[in-house]
């Protein structure tokens, strides 16, 4: 009588044999040419987090934009791999002298994914639709970028909303759209390239006219259609064909009627792997073909193992903020200066940040116009720091210091390591640190509202304009910084409304000197965030703004 165990053994052997056959057949497929692979082999990219919406207007996070940039086009965009503004859906554009009238000559042979024709009316349908949003849509968590670039709405329902700068959009000719704003803003023309303003098919806009934001204030859920690939349509080289939330996978497929150069690879899959180590191991094991935000320590080993880790340009800044309302001592300029001398920024750049990083002298990288070589510099001198603190009467300063956990940012690849070094440096100068670690979701609200005296944060530029950096923080009173300095506020206000770029450059340089004298925080570094690809793919051109266009990729 055969025992159960030998039955099982035979079954297992059969299964194993079948498996060998299956894998044998599978491996034969891979030896086809690059062109064949473009059609048959999907490119899998691992993102650190889930996208939140397939309609980019509502989102603010890079992961959503990574997906929607493949699906939608905007009026303007950045050149591939660079930070120059070029036309996207607009073949050319011009502004009047006051910077209040923007005329766009549009591409003529463009079709949306759902068959609609693209024209100036479609552009205005989008911008007018956004301008006329009401109710919960006016919450800053749902329309952040609109409010940031164009101000308020046609009918502001809340006094907290800024006045609307957008005036109108007119379809002057079939392929000529004119957008008018009230006053010039330094946010333009860069604002027209923001992923949030991807142009949606007017058919979708009409169909979703009654869509609603659901949920409670502070925890809004975007309208249902934004979660459904079939319900949205852009003009981009890819269309979304599937979003499997359980497996955290978004599937993109090439759009054959794309108006520009057709995408190389037919199918792109964007998968979420939240653990940094797991991303790296997935690439090494061949389960994925690319991922973003490579840990600096992994760059060299990956390259040695044959993977491609192209270097992106630098377009961000990491800073240590001095929130002046929380802790009295920080209101004293001498104390801020002392702390700045205590931090060994060069060590952070040399030992923690990736190759190509540099110490930041001001709150923007030198790749931006308006960078000033004349700012005051704060060299590393722990003894001087101690002395200055003693002179200011706070030799035994005690202060809280927050940092985020379980996250990597393009400007801050290893938050805890950077925090540990700065903490040790400050302690060496005699300061007592009360550390506070917060998960990213809690970190932003707390630091934004002034809950932390010292904290680490940074910024990746949205477009090539210094105002995108300086104006975001220092344009007006901000609870994250906790100070009122009318010289700086007025200076930024002036530059925001100055239409002449040459004049703006001088104004920015002067502002940078002023800001670094006032020292609201200590800029630490600019660093190139790394992205990795497997050896068998021709990767897309990497972008300093982390805006890669996957349609450029092909299999080798």
């Amino acid at each position: 009588m055969r025992t159960k165990r030998s039955h099982a053994m035979r079954g297992l052997a059969v299964l194993a044999a079948a498996g060998v056959l299956a894998t044998a057949c599978a491996s034969e497929r891979d030896s086809s040419s690059g062109e064949e692979l473009n059609e048959t082999k999907p490119f899998v990219f691992a993102a650190p987090g889930d996208a939140r919406s397939l309609d980019p207007f509502y989102a603010t996070d890079g992961e959503t934009f990574r997906v929607t940039r493949q699906i939608y086009n905007t009026l303007l965009k950045h050149e591939s791999g660079g930070s120059e503004i070029v036309g996207d859906l607009a073949s050319s554009w011009e502004q009047n002298d006051e910077g209040t009238v923007w005329t766009f000559d549009l591409e003529q042979d463009v079709t949306f994914h759902d068959g609609e024709k693209f024209n100036a009316e479609a552009v205005c349908a989008n911008y007018d639709h956004w301008f006329n949003l009401k109710g919960d849509f006016q919450d800053s968590n749902v329309s952040y970028y609109w409010q940031k670039i164009f101000g308020g709405f046609a009918e502001n329902e809340n006094d907290d909303l800024p006045p609307a700068n957008y005036k109108s959009c007119t379809a002057e000719e079939e392929f000529k759209a004119v957008i008018e704003v009230d006053k010039y803003s330094a946010n333009l023309p860069g604002g027209f390239s923001m992923a949030a303003f991807g142009i949606m098919s007017p058919k979708v806009l009409a169909a979703q006219a009654d869509s609603e934001v659901t949920g409670e204030p502070g925890a809004f859920e975007f309208p249902a259609y934004s979660q459904d690939p079939a319900a949205v349509a852009g003009t981009g080289p890819y269309r979304a064909v599937g979003w499997d939330k359980a497996s955290q996978e978004i599937k993109l497929e090439r759009f054959d009627e794309f108006w520009g150069e057709a995408a190389g690879i037919k199918t792109i899959i964007i998968k979420t792997i939240s653990d940094e180590n797991a991303r790296k191991q997935a690439l090494e094991a061949g389960d994925i073909h690319g991922y973003d935000l490579v840990a600096p320590a992994d760059v060299a080993p990956l390259q040695e193992a044959g993977f491609q880790v192209p270097e992106r340009g630098v377009f961000n800044v990491l800073y240590l903020a001095y929130q002046q309302e929380g802790n009295e001592a920080l209101e004293d300029l001498a104390v801020r200066q002392a702390l700045s001398h205590a931090v060994d920024r060069q060590r952070i750049v040399d030992t923690i940040l990736p190759e190509g990083s540099e110490v930041a002298t001001q709150f923007m990288p030198d790749t931006l116009t308006g960078w000033s070589p004349d700012v005051t510099e704060y060299e590393y001198d722990p003894e001087k720091a101690k002395d200055m603190l003693a002179d200011a009467g706070v030799a035994d300063l005690e202060i809280d210091f927050c940092y985020p956990t379980e996250v990597t940012r393009p400007y801050m690849p290893a938050p805890r390591d950077i925090f540990d070094i700065i903490k040790a440096d400050l302690e060496a100068a005699g300061v007592t640190i009360n550390e506070e670690a917060l998960p990213w979701g809690d970190y932003i609200p707390k630091t934004d509202s002034g809950g932390c005296s010292l904290y680490l944060l940074g910024w990746t530029g949205d477009f090539n304009e210094a105002y995108n950096f300086l104006g975001t923080w220092f344009g007006h009173y901000d609870s994250g910084w906790g100070f009122r300095n009318d010289d700086i506020f007025d200076g930024l206000d002036a530059v925001a409304n100055e239409p002449d770029p040459a004049k703006r450059e001088t104004m920015y340089q002067e502002l940078n000197v002023e800001i670094m004298d006032f020292l609201p925080g200590l800029p630490i570094s600019h660093s190139p965030p790394s992205i990795a690809f497997s050896a068998d793919v021709n990767p897309p051109t990497v972008s300093p703004l982390t805006q890669e266009d996957f349609s450029e990729a092909t299999w080798k």
């Binding site: 180590n277 320590a297 040399d350 990736p354 190759e355 390591d417 540990d420 040790a424 550390e435 998960p439």
Partner: protein, 319 residues
């Protein structure tokens, strides 16, 4: 649920037994101790635990450097995978921020011992109160006593129904990240076990012969409890506490891995060291291997000792 509690209940019943061939004579203790000395498992366990405790206690005196000082910060390049391995100055090399790894391991023993002991004490204290009340209520008889006992035991059953790690996670969610959180979270997970143990022990003894005899001869209840019941409960409690210590050390490491442990990385703790060193496994495997081996060996030591003690108390329970 029944077998897990069975095991604890059997352990509890031991407290009612007397040693020797005919129930009198040599105490349970002396027999147990004799068996213990002859068991190789116990020897191994004792050596490990002993070494661990000694290192933990004299740690600050044998650690050559300050474990939190990034004294060699400029020699280590985590961004280029260039680390400093063992050398004359630093016997275990440097960690990724230039701190002496040997000192960190030694002081880390102290933290791990602290977490384990505090968590176990918490679990024991809360469990003893719970189990003591339940046992006393049941022992006093009458329906309301039994009802209190049933309710309390249902409560512990509930806690046993939630896997320990998830229990710890929910406690951590309440309390945020800190060392205290880990201690309390791990301790909370042990409460039902100790509660069950002490209740079972009290019940078993309430019906045992010698207690009845003592009652019959008129000895005051308080004296019975203090002089007989309590000392007899020590054995199984010690066994359980030793086993719990082993679990506590591992659970603490797991909580650190999940990001719920103490965020202050400057004070070394094996769990956080291990969780954090995994990203450097290719460049500096020793950073992860040292704490991993330390955790495994220490947990093993306590487990060996606990199991050996359990076996020696009653050879029939040899598992």
């Amino acid at each position: 649920m029944s077998t897990k509690t069975d095991k604890i209940d059997r352990l509890a019943e031991l407290t009612a037994k007397r040693g020797g061939r005919d129930g009198h004579g040599a105490s349970l203790w002396r027999e147990a101790f004799g068996r213990l000395r002859r068991s190789p498992m116990a020897m191994a366990g004792t050596v490990i635990v002993g070494a661990f405790v000694i290192i933990a206690i004299i740690g600050p005196w044998i650690a050559p450097y300050d474990p939190t000082a990034q004294a060699w910060g400029n020699e280590v390049f985590p961004n280029r995978n260039m680390f400093v391995g063992p050398r004359g100055e630093n016997w275990f090399g440097l960690d990724h921020l230039g701190r002496d790894q040997f000192s960190r391991m030694v002081i880390g023993a102290r933290q791990s011992l602290l977490v384990g002991v505090v968590a176990t004490l918490l679990g024991f204290a809360a469990g003893a109160i719970l189990g003591g009340i339940a046992g006393a209520a049941a022992g006093l008889g009458k329906s309301w006593g039994r009802r209190i006992d049933t309710i309390l035991m249902r409560f512990t059953d509930m806690m046993l129904a939630i896997p320990a790690l998830l229990l710890a996670v929910s406690v951590a969610a309440l309390m945020g990240q800190s060392l205290a959180t880990v201690m309390i979270a791990v301790g909370v997970a042990q409460v039902p076990i100790f509660a069950r143990l002490l209740r079972g022990s009290m019940l078993a003894q309430a019906h045992s012969d010698y207690v009845l005899a003592a009652k019959a001869t008129g000895i005051k209840r308080k004296r019975i409890v203090l002089a007989h019941i309590l000392p007899n409960s020590v054995g199984p409690v010690l066994v359980q506490a030793t086993l719990t210590l082993a679990t506590a050390i591992i659970e603490a490491a797991a909580l650190s891995y999940l990001g719920l442990g103490s965020p202050d990385q400057s004070i070394p703790e094996w769990g956080t060291m291990l969780a954090d060193a995994q990203r450097f496994l290719s460049g500096a495997p020793q950073l992860a291997i040292y704490p991993a081996i330390a955790i495994i060996i220490t947990a093993l030591g306590f487990t060996l000792l606990g199991e050996a003690m359990r076996e020696s108390l009653d050879p029939k329970l040899r598992k």
